[in-house]
């Protein structure tokens, strides 16, 4: 199961999808929406994905993980649209015969998602909004003094 959804993620279904007779462990990672970030009071997050490629990249992560570790199955579901504070934005489940492989593969999956899956996160905070990853000071600003892409003007109200 490698999916995007606009609806709340059902963890039970995710676990069922990786349950295997040969598995002695299921490890999960659940990312939830936090109410603060870098001093800002966060009201909600909004995710936008490139449909098709996003699911394909999720599945590629599982294929890579299966080459590196002895896992049975991996499933990943990511929310799109507005996600309120405390809700699940991403959930990963990995089953394996032994827990070491499941833990390692699960950690790998979340890091890879954040590195290369075309899903973008906009933070809606008190006083404005910001596409995460495009703030000032992040590594992709290669030219000193470059105009900051993504620094949104605060809402006027």
């Amino acid at each position: 199961m490698f999916a995007l959804t606009e609806k709340p993620i059902r963890i039970g279904e995710l676990l069922d999808s990786v349950t295997r007779p040969g598995a002695g462990a299921i490890v999960t990672f659940i990312g939830t929406t936090r109410d603060h970030n870098e001093g800002r009071k966060v009201l909600a997050l909004s995710y936008e994905a490139y449909p098709g490629m996003a699911e394909q990249e999720l599945e590629r992560i599982a294929v890579e993980a299966k080459k590196k570790w002895a896992i049975e199955e991996m499933a990943i579901v990511h929310r799109t649209g507005r996600v309120d504070i405390g809700q699940v934005s991403v959930a990963i489940a990995v089953s394996a015969a032994h827990r070491e492989d499941a833990f390692a593969a699960c950690r790998f999956a979340i890091e890879e998602i954040k590195r290369k899956v075309p899903i973008w996160k906009k933070e809606l905070f008190e006083g404005g909004e910001l596409w995460i990853g495009t703030q000032s000071g992040q590594r992709f600003h290669t030219e000193p003094g470059a105009e900051v892409l993504g620094r949104f003007a605060p809402h006027s109200k």
Partner: protein
């Protein structure tokens, strides 16, 4: 020949559109297309931003030569906030 460009997230907001069909010369690379697009949409002309290129739903290098009706996506930094370099 024509290519289809899709914009997401901050680039969609900057350009105020999510989809553009553009006529390009045969032999144009995806990196060159980005520069052409910035001429059409000055709001996208931001120095220092590092994008990834995706064509037909797979990442490619900037030297990729476009084909008729390719679907091109310029990928701004994804949700983790740190770009990967191809």
């Amino acid at each position: 020949m024509k290519v289809k460009i899709r914009l997401f997230a901050i680039l969609r907001e900057k350009a105020k559109t999510g989809e553009i069909t553009k006529e390009v010369e045969p032999g144009t690379t995806v990196a060159e297309l980005w520069r052409l697009l910035q001429q059409d949409y000055p709001a996208l002309d931001v120095p220092g931003v590092r994008l990834l290129y995706a064509v037909n739903q797979s990442y490619v290098g900037g030297e990729y030569v476009l084909q008729e009706m390719d679907e091109v996506v310029f990928v701004p930094p994804v949700s983790g906030g740190s770009p990967c370099l191809l």
